[in-house]
């Protein structure tokens, strides 16, 4: 009936159970899915890579009618490639998701707004907790509730909480990049190099051009004279550029 084999189905179930997989984990998953059903697994690197890409395309074609997709993205923190199973529709049916209450989602939306409006792509945790005061449409939320919610959203891999800072995870950016750019067309910035949404990154104070750290590293690592890539800007690029090769940033 279809070109899907047991390995595809198990691979997909695994994606449903795990929120984010990096490139290495995807490779390991592909290997164990093939092996479990005694399907051929090619060890030769290039050919295997081609087969894995094909494997994911077959799955994506099959799940597209249900508005699902295995999508590739990268961490804004270190540029590593990540893969997530995302939902691509917004309908009465997707509203039936039950992981978070309406109040919690309202809070999450406000949080996204603040993160997007900050130039740096994160907000302080105190600021995040104070957001409870601005909820209007829904039930009130205490600070303790908010604290627990932040922890839960971290465990579910929607948020990154690190040293008093709250930022959006790769998983959130992958699912919500369209929502964010549509809702905040004025404030949401795109990376000058990869043209994708850029929340955490390096900003040119002169013209407002933004670059992901790993994208800046790709442009500048071999240059001594660092100039802003913005059109007709040419200002000095004053940020630190990580010198080491960024894992997974090759395409």
């Amino acid at each position: 009936m279809s070109e899907l084999r047991d390995s595809h189905r198990l691979f997909l179930q695994s994606f449903m159970s795990r929120s984010v997989l990096d490139a290495k984990e995807v490779k390991a998953l592909y290997k164990s899915s093939c092996e479990k059903f005694n399907e051929e697994y090619i060890t030769q690197e290039d050919e295997r890579r081609r087969q894995l890409a094909e494997f994911v395309i077959v799955i994506n074609n099959s799940i597209k009618p249900f508005h699902m997709e295995i999508k590739k993205g990268f961490s804004e923190d270190n540029g590593t490639n990540c893969y997530c199973l995302v939902s691509t529709s917004d309908t009465a049916i997707t509203k039936m998701a039950s992981d978070y209450t309406a109040t919690e989602l309202e809070y999450f939306k406000k949080l996204i707004e603040l993160v997007v409006e900050s130039d740096v792509g994160y907000i302080g945790s105190v600021e995040a907790l104070n957001l409870t005061e601005s909820l209007t449409n829904t039930k009130k939320m205490s600070k303790t509730d908010a604290e627990n919610l932040l922890k839960r959203m971290k465990a579910d891999r929607w948020l990154i909480l690190n040293e008093g800072q709250v930022s959006l995870s790769t998983r959130t950016i992958l699912e919500l990049d369209m929502y964010i750019t549509d809702t905040y067309p004025e404030t949401a910035k795109m990376c000058e190099l990869c043209k994708k949404l850029c929340l955490k990154g390096q900003l040119c104070e002169e013209c407002g051009v933004k670059l992901h750290v790993h994208c800046a590293s790709r442009i500048f690592s071999k240059q001594n004279q660092r100039k802003c890539p913005g059109q007709r800007c040419n200002a000095e690029w004053v940020h630190d550029i990580p010198s080491k090769d960024v894992p997974g940033s090759q395409h």
């Binding site: 508005h67 939902s87 529709s89 998701a97 369209m178």
Partner: protein
Amino acid sequence: GRQKAQALNTEFVKFQPVEFVEKLKTFLCGNVLEDRTISTEKWCSLGKAVQPSFKRCPPFRFINGSFERGEVQVRKERVK
């Protein structure tokens, strides 16, 4: 019916619930006599160990589309 009665007759090990959970506790906490409380981590590792006994289907979790977008400044349909 009769077969079952026979089986019951020849049963030589009777299951004792309390004995079973004592074994379980030893399995989880080892043979130490003092602290035998089962911590969250121990419950978790027991769960991990028994998950393969269940054909539970993993749920699909997502955030996009789960909330009302509210007043979105709709731009023209973007081509992917």
